[in-house]
Amino acid sequence: MKLAFGSPALDAASRLMTPFMLMFGAYVVVHGHDSPGGGFQGGVIIAACIILVRLVRGRAGGWMLAPERALAFACAGLGIFIGVGLLGPIFGGNFLDYSALPLLLEAPKARAAGSMAIEIGVAVTVTGVLSLIFDALVEARDDG
């Protein structure tokens, strides 16, 4: 089944909105430290943007995060998280202890940098998985 509610107005609106939504998503990820937001919320917004385009323009929109790539995103995000966590033990701290990272920063700054890295990981995973689930629900074939 094609889930594309194509109409010129919707098309234009979605084209107009997507850049702002993506920017807002990225902003929410990056500014999670000082304002409400964070990796999960930002990832949800980016995924919502992808889903919006998919809803309006269907597969033709070119915005489809191919399922395989979406899955790779999901795994990569979690991989980033674990990788950052494992840097702790490598540099002599505990698991996920960012203050042990050799960043030449004072502890709070180093911790903020580490948190930022994992937030990005979370955002990547969330974007990948939500669009993957949406695609799985849409594309599931209607036979059998």
Binding site: G38, V129, A140, D143, G144
Partner: protein, 128 residues
């Protein structure tokens, strides 16, 4: 208990009671509704009820959102709400959306094979 604490008490406990009602609505939906999609919505309501309960625990009268604005000053604990339940409940929301996604995928498979999502009809088909 002082007088102004009394007022706090009434608004304060009313929320627990209403949360319990919400919880029971969700539980009732899971038990009694026929359509599996509706059971799933009831499950979401149940999860929101638990989240509401935790957020109610985090509230503090006279406190504001947990984003520190005063810079360099001594931070007054009483002026910010408790951030811990918020962090926990973000995780719980994620869990609930994940569970919903998996459940919907299962439902699509069930519907594809059995042609229905109504529990009674499904049970009848399974018995065949």
């Amino acid at each position: 208990m002082t007088d102004d604490m009394e007022g706090l008490w009434s608004v304060g406990t009313a929320q627990y009671f209403l949360t319990t009602v919400l919880l029971m609505v969700g539980l009732y939906g899971i038990v009694a509704r026929q359509h599996l999609l509706r059971k799933l919505m009831a499950m979401n309501i149940l999860q929101v009820a638990v989240i509401v309960f935790f957020i109610a625990l985090s509230a503090k009268s006279g406190a504001t959102v947990p984003v520190v604005i005063e810079d360099g000053l001594e931070i007054n604990v009483a002026s910010y709400v408790n951030p811990l339940p918020h962090a926990l409940m973000l995780t719980a929301i994620v869990v609930s959306v994940s569970t919903t996604g998996v459940a919907l995928a299962l439902l699509i498979r069930i519907r594809r094979r059995y042609g229905t999502l109504s529990e009674t009809m499904l049970l009848a088909k399974l018995r065949e």
